[in-house]
């Protein structure tokens, strides 16, 4: 005889299960690395997880790793922007009118309180970063050709990430339109990462981080010179300049000057010219 209730059993029934959210949290370890070096370190642990064979055989792995890479990029932008709010009085002035949750004052340290501004903002979005840059840092990324090109590529990846997060990688018509891919009737597309595309994605993120890091540093220093915040005298300038240099400097890349004192030296003549009105 058939069970009259059995028609409801289209699948296994749910059961009692729960997660103690605190169990997945652990104290955040402070890093001595600058945001860009922190980004490099994270990427270098993530990318080797996807071998050529694993990525070919496991459709989910590439997407998961790509999400991790974009997340590391978003983390960089949060760190550098909040770091600038702490290190730069001009940016701090612009941020003064921003609203933050009251509780953030207790949760974040003095150095990282800037993070509270971005609590409700996704920085895995090229356009959002550009908007915040204009609002807080006072310059337009779009006017810098090389950085603009880096952001355009990053924007593509953000679209792909969007599809990966919200529909497991199946691409909607809107996704295709945003990516400039022709849609074929009856042939919907989904995301799949091979080693080459995963590495290219990591390179694109690295590129946008580098472009932004160089640009934001240059613009901030130029802004300080324009605002006459620097005197050219190391004894006076170091209190502001040294933390700014450390915020942007990559020890891993080892380019330019190895420390803030040496990096400040060639600025002296530029500052002197600006102060005399010749620059």
């Amino acid at each position: 005889m058939s069970d009259p209730e059995r028609w409801k059993d289209v699948c296994e029934s749910e059961r009692s299960v729960s997660l103690d959210a605190a169990s997945v949290c652990r104290p955040l370890r402070a890093t001595p690395l600058s945001p860009i070096d922190n980004f490099y370190a994270y990427i270098s642990t993530l990318v080797p997880l996807g071998t050529e064979e694993q990525l070919s055989n496991n459709d989910a792995l590439g997407k998961a790793l790509m999400l991790g890479i974009v997340s590391a990029t978003e983390h960089y932008f949060r760190s550098i922007l909040s770091g600038l709010i702490h290190a730069c009085p001009v940016v701090r002035g612009r941020a003064a009118s921003q609203t933050i949750p009251f509780g953030a004052l207790g949760y974040y340290s003095r150095e990282s309180i800037g993070l509270a501004i971005f609590e409700h903002v996704s920085l895995a979005d090229a356009r959002e970063i550009q908007k915040l840059t204009s609002k807080l840092l006072g310059f337009q990324v779009e006017q810098e050709n090389s950085a603009k090109a880096a952001f355009l590529e990053f924007d593509k990846l953000c679209q792909i990430r969007h599809a990966a997060i919200h529909s497991r990688g199946d691409l909607s018509l809107k996704n295709l339109q945003e990516l400039g891919i022709a849609a074929n009737a009856g042939n919907p597309l989904a995301i799949h990462f091979e080693l080459s595309s995963l590495h290219a994605s990591a390179s694109i993120c690295q590129n946008v981080v580098r472009a932004y890091n160089r640009l934001a540093y240059r613009k901030t220093v130029e802004g300080w010179i324009g605002e006459r915040l620097l005197t050219g005298n190391w004894a006076h300038d170091k209190i502001m300049f040294a933390p700014l240099f450390e915020l942007f400097h990559s020890r891993k890349d080892a380019r330019g000057y190895p420390n803030s004192y040496l990096a400040h030296r060639p600025l002296s003549s530029i500052i002197a010219r600006a102060l005399s009105g010749a620059g």
Binding site: P48, S196, H199, A202
Partner: protein
């Protein structure tokens, strides 16, 4: 008979300042010759005239030939002809400095955009220069964009940061501008002569170039580009044959009029004092002409060697000198091939296999020819059984670029299969005695054998027979290991080390080339030694910076001709 009595009046007293002109006589690059020099010193065959008609006419054309095959001469001649004929507005543009922009791809995210603007601005600068020569009234827009473009180009080519342009010009906008400017200067159409256009050592640049090139086509605009055989790869949307007709610049040495043409180059180009030294020794001229394998630049090099130009002005052409010149020419051709190791570092192993292939071809020809008694038809042609493996096709393409091999037609031998014919450079054939002429052959014997080779005689070969059965294992892409942990790079696509996660950096080819030791240049050992002993020049960049040749001229026996040749070698080493 006094040979110079047969010469045209080019060298008559008072026509040309002979001291200055001698440098130009042996000038290897057509773009460095004036309009007068070009017309006077380059012989013109029926074949050249047919090519010039196509170059001056409408339609997109690709002019193909290896280094020194006369592509620039043809483009420059067509350019000057159009300047004078009043119908079309021509522009001559040389892209040989494109490698200087390659470092940008390592330092700028918008490098493709900068490169495209460089291409477009080079063309605008070329039009602007042409208009200055033909019209007193430069179109207003051109007068503004032209000088601005020249400044932009100069800054990019000297390694400065890409300057900001007031606006970007797209290929389709360029097309409209060219049509407008032609009309404004009273010419019905515009023809662009794009020299050194195959950016063979940077795939990104090559792809970008052909995307611009294919857009420059309309009823009133035609573009002609000089490319290399074998090594040029076109963009995915550019279909050779459909988008452009290929014209062959390389003069075939088995052409009936070949020797007559090459003799006339000597007659018109050399001053009487030098030309008369060949009296009673015209077989040396033919020997060198054949050894040059249809590449005029090689011919001029060998002539200057046997005449002792720069080294010893009293030298008389001898058989020994001629053989030495041919051996040096063969070495120089091989050096162009070997230099691909530096320009395409990933294909180092392919270059090594290519040199083995060349040796195997020499050996195969020698064995074949040794069975042919004197008077019987000898050959410099090998026919390789098809299908040719992909990696070997790539190597053969590289050999075509250098001029080591010249691809001919394929030939079917029924059940034995289809074979692809390749002719070995005659200087290598002669230097390696591939004709098996014996130890004491006369130059006439060599000339007769080469001049009478038939396309129907060839040595049939299989790739495994030439290189051994395991040749494919040697044709691997050479990928630099991780700079941090030395783990091997797993593929060309890998951008991060799969062991330590560090970024895998691709070095700039241009930076490597410019800092290369002068040993790498295709110069004689004597000249390299001279440079190292008598000057402080050590790298290719040092030579490029010695623009007035002040240091170079300190080397004994280096006068204007050799100093120009040394500088040309350095320029070409860092060029496409």
């Amino acid at each position: 008979m006094n040979l110079s009595a047969q010469q045209p009046a080019v060298w008559a007293a008072g026509t040309i300042d002979q001291d200055l002109a001698l440098t130009a006589v042996f000038e290897e690059r057509a773009e460095n010759l004036s309009q007068d020099e070009l017309w006077k010193w380059s012989a013109e065959t029926d074949r050249d005239r047919a090519l010039l008609v196509k170059l001056k006419g409408s339609g997109t054309k690709l002019l193909s030939g290896p280094r020194g095959s006369g592509k620039s001469t043809l483009l420059r001649k067509a350019y000057f002809a159009l300047l004078e004929d009043g119908q079309a507005l021509p522009a001559y543009v040389n892209f040989s400095r494109s490698l200087a922009l390659e470092p940008l791809f390592h330092t700028n995210a918008n490098a493709p955009q900068v490169f495209q603007q460089w291409l477009i601005r080079k063309m605008i600068a070329g039009v602007w220069e042409a208009v200055q020569l033909i019209s007193s009234a430069t179109p207003a827009a051109l007068n503004q964009i032209g000088p601005e473009s020249i400044d932009y180009i100069q800054r990019l080519e000297t390694g400065q940061d890409p300057p900001k342009l007031p606006r970007l010009i797209s290929p389709s906008e360029l097309l409209l501008l060219l049509e407008t400017w032609s009309k404004e200067v009273g010419r019905s159409r515009c023809v662009l002569f794009l020299d050194d256009a195959a950016h063979a050592f940077s795939p990104e640049q090559q792809r970008d170039f052909f995307e611009v090139f294919r857009a420059l086509k309309s009823r009133h605009v035609a573009a002609k580009a000089a490319v290399y055989p074998g090594i040029t790869s076109y963009s995915p949307y550019f279909h050779v044959g459909h988008e452009a007709e290929v014209l062959e610049a390389w003069y075939p040495p088995d052409d009936e009029a070949y020797l007559t043409t090459m003799r006339s180059i000597v007659q018109t180009r050399l001053p009487a004092a030098l030309y008369d030294r060949f009296e009673g020794k015209t077989e040396i001229i033919d020997f060198l002409a054949l050894a040059s394998f249809g590449l005029p630049r090689g011919f001029l090099n060998m002539l200057s060697y046997v005449l002792g130009v720069d080294d010893n002005a009293s030298v008389k052409p001898t058989r020994r000198n001629a053989e030495r010149a041919v051996a040096l020419q063969a070495e120089s051709v091989r050096n162009i091939f070997s230099a691909l190791r530096d320009k395409l570092p990933r294909l180092k192993n392919f270059v090594d296999v290519g040199l083995d292939l060349q040796r195997a071809v020499v050996h195969a020809l020698r064995s074949f020819n040794s069975t042919k008694p004197p008077g019987r038809e000898k050959t410099a042609v090998v026919a390789i059984a098809e299908p040719i493996p992909t990696e070997i096709s790539r190597i053969l393409g590289m050999a075509e670029y250098a001029g080591i091999l010249r691809r001919g037609n394929s030939v079917s031998r029924g059940v034995k299969g289809v074979f692809q014919r390749y002719t070995l450079h005659y200087s290598i054939v002669l230097a390696e005695n591939s004709l098996s002429l014996g130890k004491s052959y006369g130059l006439d014997d060599a000339n007769r054998s080469l001049a009478s080779t038939s396309a129907h005689a060839f040595v049939r070969v299989q790739v495994p027979g030439l290189l051994g059965p395991s040749f494919a294992e040697r044709c691997t892409i050479d990928l630099a290991p991780c700079q941090k942990c030395q783990a091997p790079r797993i593929s060309e696509d890998a951008k991060f080390c799969m062991r330590c996660g560090a970024e895998l950096k691709d070095l700039s080819v241009y930076d490597e080339l410019i800092h290369a030791d002068i040993d790498k240049l295709p110069l004689t050992p004597n000249k390299i030694r001279g440079l190292k002993t008598h000057t402080s020049l050590r790298t290719v960049q040092d030579i490029l910076l010695d623009q007035e040749a002040i240091q170079i001229r300190k080397v004994p026996y280096v006068g204007p001709i050799w100093s120009s040749r040394i500088q040309t070698a350095a320029q070409e080493y860092v060029s496409v």
